[in-house]
Symmetry: C2
Subunit: 455 residues, 2 copies
């Protein structure tokens, strides 16, 4: 392995021409969405008022393992793909570990993260269907930025409901989206019924992702020729993100390397789900014995302390019921939490794989995550997004374990994005103001009380 | 040319192993630095108290055309190099031009620009010489960020004098440098005699690059085992930046393409000088007929309206005298100017080449530059730094000229960096608050009055 470059870039003719649908390989499929009114599984027509038709088909498709990527999306991908697979030689040296560490870096685009992979696809399908506008929500702003870029490229109007506290903490994220032409509305707002209701019940609220989702869905349903798009959690989003795993697998195979451990941060699960997709299919089929690790913040521990339960995807309880690991749609993470990954639930695919024992999960406090981020920035030169830094912390711990045991395992992690728009969080870290708040069992119970089955 | 990829990445074994020194090819060399006290050319010993020894040798070397890049610097370059040479297919399409547009993108690193190319080299040589600390100045912050990264990597302490108005407008740039461990001091400050003097004369001043340079030099000279490093203008900086031109030339030759026009933004000249270096040597030797274009802001027009004169490099008049195009070290650009490229002078190499007719120059107002930036971001997906957007505007104009004439020229420009830390400038642009102030002849005369020969 001594002749592995620092960075492996695939040639354009080596890039994937189809996405990978891990559900086709799963022995037990994730449970279907349930219509809250009828208790029956959702069918295509239930979802069409909210989502684009082609995305609904992808959402419900559990049988086709490869789904071709349309030429127009492949063209768009060329703006920022392939992303590099980087050998973390400098990190290995500083840790003095026999482990070989690789990371797939998705931050080399203006939106700053992997989110653009799904944004490109979703906007293309919307345009193809003849829609003229889209709505979405954004928290940290990476998804909103990605979607703004894709909408500018394909010529589709966009309204972004941005969690109010984020829009105040990150005014420049808003400017970035506006530069790409998006209409950015701090949420909760008085532009929707749900926003008005939440504002009247909690006048001082800084909002939440679940609440912004409710507003975006309401706006989409009420606007002619408009649909709602979501940047994580859903099956079709994980499908688009499989481009990350496919490129990684191709790049590693090119140099004859196979990962022993794959680590990803997990908020809604799209990054982790996309990165592991083709590797997981092989594992399910007994072709590898990779350890998969999801890393989440201790302050929003949906996998490590959540329940595997039917739940709404949003605070307003307007979505179908989703079987997933969740803290309850009523769970609101601490406003002191700067590290992203604030969603109450988790991708149903990742949830099912975790439930069936294919994925492990662990959680970290904010300060240890930012320690890892600063260490990584200093030696590898990339300032990571706080979200991504969770995976770095996981990789460092795995590498130090190898140091103890003397094993030279191959560790792969996903570096989902850069932290250029998270400097206020880094400022808090440098000033020693980072809170390591972890919810108590009582705090979590309040969220669980909001679960529809009352568990 | 139809099979040219969107992005050309050289393989690691194709990367340059030596920098290119264009002075070796120049028939007439740039004039040497003049010692202000004696009026004689500066020799090595004059410069050693301020600069690292190896950098002084590079600064004075006009005869060796290729200077080997030490292994440790090549290793550091692997963090962020090779940078991609990108075919601007989407921009060509929107402009409907027969021109082929390529850009070399240097923004894919945390410092956000090409500055890291020289920072890596300068810090390595400082470390090799046994120095324990460095000082520098930064305006927009790209240089300070780059140097902070390199100092963190090689383990050298760093104090950055940051132009006060920039440190207030860009607090997050400061946090970024601090995350990499740098000590950031807003300039003018009371930590130096020159800073105190400037503060007493202009209590409310927001500072300037020339003033921050004076402070950094004073601090370096007064601190044991410390030297000063500069991110542009000087010959050794252009030498390090030749990596940009060398990679570009190799990538274009790999696909059988030769540029007809090469366009770069010009502040201190390091980006332009580095990009054109090997192409210019060929032009001087009659091997090509490339048109070279320097683009600068109308508000700080050192090439298009400056004088080719001996001048100090800093406001405090502590540097040697440099023969260059200059607005006078007393020139202070309008505080309304958000577009970077605020330095009063220009690289002596670029100045000499311009004076001898090898380079053309043009200037643009801020609003047309930001128009070009927004157009580019929407179609090519990269949000450019305002500095870089000057080159984009130049390239768009050249491409539109091709459209008129029907010529399918090959246009190459340097995209030096990203605008993630310039969102307040973009905000001003979106809000229509962009000023197109251009200095009057009287304004310029005030700067010329500060020239040492009193012209």
């Amino acid at each position: 392995m001594s002749n592995i470059p620092y960075k492996i870039y695939l040639e354009e003719n080596e890039l994937p021409k189809a996405w990978h649908n891990v559900r086709a390989a799963m022995k037990e499929k994730p449970e279907p969405f349930i219509h809250p009114a009828t208790g029956n599984p959702c069918v295509k027509n239930d979802l069409l008022p909210v989502f684009c038709e082609e995305l609904v088909e992808q959402e419900l498709n559990v049988s086709d393992e490869f789904i071709p990527i349309p030429d127009e999306i492949q063209d768009f991908y060329r703006i920022f793909r392939p992303s590099p697979l980087i050998r973390a030689y400098f990190l290995e040296k500083i840790l003095d570990t026999p482990a070989k560490i690789f990371y797939k870096f998705e931050g080399n685009n203006t939106s700053g993260s992997h989110k653009l992979n799904s944004a490109a696809a979703q906007v293309f399908y919307a345009k193809k269907q003849g829609l003229t506008s889209l709505t979405t929500e954004t928290g940290a702003g990476q998804w909103g930025s990605a979607l703004s870029m894709a909408c500018a490229h394909f010529g589709v109007e966009l309204t972004v409901y941005m969690v109010k506290v984020s829009s105040e903490q990150k005014p420049y994220r808003k400017v970035l989206m506006q530069t790409y032409g998006a209409n950015v509305v701090p949420s909760p707002s008085d532009t929707t019924d749900i926003g008005k209701k939440i504002l009247s019940e909690n006048p001082g609220t800084g909002g939440s992702l679940g609440c912004a989702i409710s507003e975006a869905i309401e706006a989409a349903v009420k606007t002619p020729n408009c649909r709602y798009v979501l940047g994580s959690v859903l099956n079709h989003v994980l499908l688009h993100q499989s481009i990350v795993g496919l490129e990684t697998k191709a790049a590693m195979e090119k140099y004859g390397v196979s990962p022993d451990i794959i680590i990803g941060c997990a908020g809604g699960g799209s990054n982790l789900g996309g990165l592991i997709s083709p590797f997981m299919a092989d594992k399910i089929r007994g072709k590898n014995n990779i350890e998969f690790v999801a890393v989440e913040p201790s302050s929003c521990p949906s996998l490590t302390r959540g329940k595997y339960s039917l739940d709404f995807g949003d605070t307003g309880k307007t979505t179908p019921l989703i079987k997933m690991y969740t803290l309850g749609s009523g769970f609101i993470p601490s406003p002191n939490h700067a590290g992203g990954l604030r969603y109450h639930g988790m991708s149903p695919i990742v949830s099912k794989l975790y439930h069936d024992g294919y994925i492990n999960a662990k959680s970290y406090n904010q300060s240890e995550v930012f320690d890892a981020a600063a260490k990584f920035a200093k030696c590898e030169g990339i300032l990571p997004a706080p979200e991504s830094a969770h995976a770095i912390k996981g990789a460092i711990d795995a590498a130090l374990k190898c140091k103890e045991s003397g094993e030279s395992k191959v560790i792969l992690f996903g570096l989902t994005g850069t932290g250029y728009f998270d400097m206020s969080a880094y400022q808090g870290y440098l000033e020693g103001k980072m809170s390591d708040y972890t919810p108590s069992d009582e705090d979590l119970q309040k969220g669980f009380d909001s679960l529809p089955d009352g568990s």
